[in-house]
């Protein structure tokens, strides 16, 4: 009984949320900015789940697993299919370097911070602490282009170049993070407190690559069927679920595997393939549903979680700003952004949450709960603050 109420709540809130989150035109702009990207739906989920009023039992939430796997796969695939080699090759190398470079700097900085925080909080084996810290840092390293694209229209042509570069950086810096998550699951086993094995990592990495290529070829072959639109939807959903199921079976990251597969598909499908239309048309409801599910999965609400999240947010922004400022200072000719642009990359978005969920499904225990709590709190804070910070930066860039 309760199980379906979860789905009811999720779908209804997801649907209304999708409607409201992107059309808050009637609100005063300051208030609109606070709720611009719909982070409040995390609170809706949290209120229903164990972090709130426990309306929904965690045991029931667990039974949503297969459908959650589908959602994770969807998130990975939608990013992966944007990685068409011809388009990636056209990206300005300086922007690419900036995106990847700042993402790696932030990841490294947060990895150190988080590793220490986890070691202080939970006496867990070193490899597990390292794996958890790596995942949390990856979620912190990414930026979301959503807030930028929602704020940008209120600025004129004067900021167009800055907006373009910001969007590019925020889109591209997802890749290193998802790759880190994938590699973490390949090299660190989740059982027996976690162990690191290079050999295992290489084997699992090969599994990921071979599976992604084989499944992309399978989808291409499947696409040779003359499918009607409703059959296309069935085949896409089935394919994503199968891929995510394979990932869980092989102890790989569904996000990573679908991203890899998406990248292969991006290079073997036509640019106008229906898969693109299908994924983009379902983006908003999926996004809001993911926010609510994240809230539902949030368990750790203690002081340590809030304190760690607070430090995490500050450290992340400082690292982003330092990384971009460093690039501006040391590579002034090739940098397309000005100092302070790191602030405009503060939004974390749904993929950070997906990384957290991926981790939560793979690992269990205090450390995993702490990681997830920090990701969720920092995402909320960053989504709340991002529109103001983006406005501030673009205002200056325009001048």
């Amino acid at each position: 009984m309760k199980l379906a109420w979860i789905v009811i709540a999720l779908l209804a809130a997801g649907f209304i949320g999708a409607r409201l989150a992107f059309s808050k035109d009637r609100l005063p702009w300051r208030l609109r900015d606070i709720f611009l990207t719909g982070w409040e739906y995390i609170l809706v989920g949290a209120a229903l789940g164990p972090a709130g009023f426990s309306v929904i039992d965690p045991a029931y939430i667990e039974t949503l697993g297969p459908f959650l796997a589908l959602g994770l796969g969807w998130a990975g695939l939608i990013f992966g299919i944007q990685l068409r080699w011809r388009d990636v090759a056209r990206i300005d190398p300086a922007t690419l370097k900036l995106a990847v470079g700042q993402s790696l700097v932030v990841w490294l900085g947060l990895l150190v911070f988080f590793y220490e925080a986890i070691r202080l909080y939970a006496p867990i084996p070193l490899p597990e602490a390292l794996a958890s810290a790596s995942v949390a840092a990856a979620a912190g390293a990414i930026s979301s282009p959503t807030a930028i694209s929602l704020v940008a229209p209120s600025f004129g042509r004067t900021s167009a170049r800055a907006v373009r570069t910001l969007l590019m950086v925020a889109t591209l810096d997802l890749a290193p993070a998802v790759i880190v998550v994938g590699l973490t699951l390949c090299f660190f086993s989740v059982e027996d407190g976690g162990t690191f094995s290079f050999q295992r990592g290489m084997v699992y990495l090969s599994y990921s690559a071979v599976t992604a290529m084989a499944m992309a070829a399978f989808y291409r072959f499947l696409g040779g069927e003359l499918l009607k639109p409703e059959e296309e939807l069935t085949s896409a959903l089935g394919f994503i679920a199968l891929l995510s199921g394979l990932a869980f079976y092989l102890r790989l990251s569904p996000l990573f595997l679908t991203l890899l597969c998406g990248a292969v598909l991006a290079n073997i499908l036509k640019p106008g393939d229906n898969l693109y239309k299908l994924l983009y048309s379902t983006e908003k409801p999926f996004y809001v549903t993911l926010l609510i599910i994240s809230g539902l999965l949030w368990q750790e609400t203690g002081v340590i979680a809030w304190a760690s999240a607070g430090i995490f947010v500050v450290a992340r922004i400082a690292l982003k700003t330092a990384a971009i400022d460093g690039a501006v200072r040391f590579m002034p000719k090739s940098s397309r952004l000005s100092a302070g642009a790191g602030l405009a990359l503060s939004s974390q978005g749904a993929l950070a949450l997906a990384i957290g969920i991926n981790h939560q499904l793979a690992f269990t225990g205090h450390a995993a709960n702490l990681v997830f709590a920090v990701i969720i709190i920092s995402t909320m804070v960053n989504e709340m603050a991002a529109p103001f910070l983006i406005r501030r930066y673009l205002g200056r860039a325009g001048k």
Binding site: A4, E230, I240, L242, F248
Partner: protein, 440 residues
Amino acid sequence: MTLVVARKLALMLALLGVTMMARQLGSMAGINSILASSALSLGFLMLFALMGGRIAKLFGAPMITGFIVSGLLAGPFILGVVDKASADNLRLVDDLAFGVIAFYAGGEMRLARFLPKIRGVLTVIVAIIVMTLPLVFTAVFTLLYMTDALKGGFDTALAGAMLISVIAITNSPAVVIGVLNETRAKGPVADLTLGVTVFNDVFVVMLFGLAMAFAGWLVPSSGANAAMPAWGAFYKIGVSFAIGALAGGIMIAFFKVVEFNAAIFIVGAAFVLAEISQAAGTNVMLSGITAGFIVENFSSEGERLMEGLRKSSMPVFALFFSLAGQSLALDSLPEVWVFAMAVVVTRLVGMRAAVKVGVKLSGGEAALARNAWAGFVGQAGLSLGLALMAGKQFPGWGETVKTIAVAVIVVNELIGPALMKRGLRLAGEIAPEEGTGHGR
């Protein structure tokens, strides 16, 4: 044709290979996670069913036959790719499918189209009750009494035959909607099949309530639960309608407020309704049909409802029917096949005769009288629910009744969709294919 089928079979084999290999690798690595297994099963079933459905279509059968057969192949009795635990973890889809099917049935019931046909619909239902039910009852009672299969003598055989014959006159809204949705059939046969299916549910629920009460009275020592009096059925129907009316009103209001992506909202609404019905112990089909009927006939949002249903129904149906196939109790067939065959044959004969007489009495055309019966062969959800209820209410002999009924449902579920599509084709009501889709 051979190449096209071979290609689809190759895809199915590839899918099977991938899934089995993943399971093998997983078991070698000691992975025994229900999450991994059910996520893999979810993807496997959707794709396997889709391919199965497309192969079925090539042979002139409806896609849902392909879905069911694919599920059956994947299930524990044949390939064993999808085990019970994984399938149980996906049962969430059942609630969703019931809601979607019910909305669809209600949404198709446009008053302007159905009012002139209501006499024909009711006449056919009465004919089925008056002719098919007694025919099945006579055959089953004779067999049960002669073999003493229920081990309780005359009264128990009488009670068992009564329950089986009431279950036998149900037909499956899921199958009817699945075939109509797929074929986009329009015409007298499609209308009559849908109308009878929708209204038949009401009569069957009432008759079953009466039959259960009567069986409890006939065999009082069987441990029957006396809390299922006949009035309970009437209460159930009344509350089902009330819930459906309320849901219909809320849906209209929602459609007016929210402008895009009706498909997602409908999915949510289907869950809400299924759960409320479960909580209230009412019939989700009746509530959903009422809700769909109200949206279609008392607002301007009917087209959005139907469009949303058309968009969202295929993945739901593929999963729902393949799960239904996966759970078909093939092991019950060897045990009770004689009884099951007797019911299947007398039911077919009875349905054919009853529909012919009903249509003639209501002044219907000869083509309608000849072809409409095929739509009433399929059985699924409601019949299964009633069979399970009988088994639960009457421990001992009720279990045998359940086993016979389930065996009958297995056969009818497999042959029903194909027969219905054939009937619609013979009546010339299947719309020509709108293009063939597109590949890569």
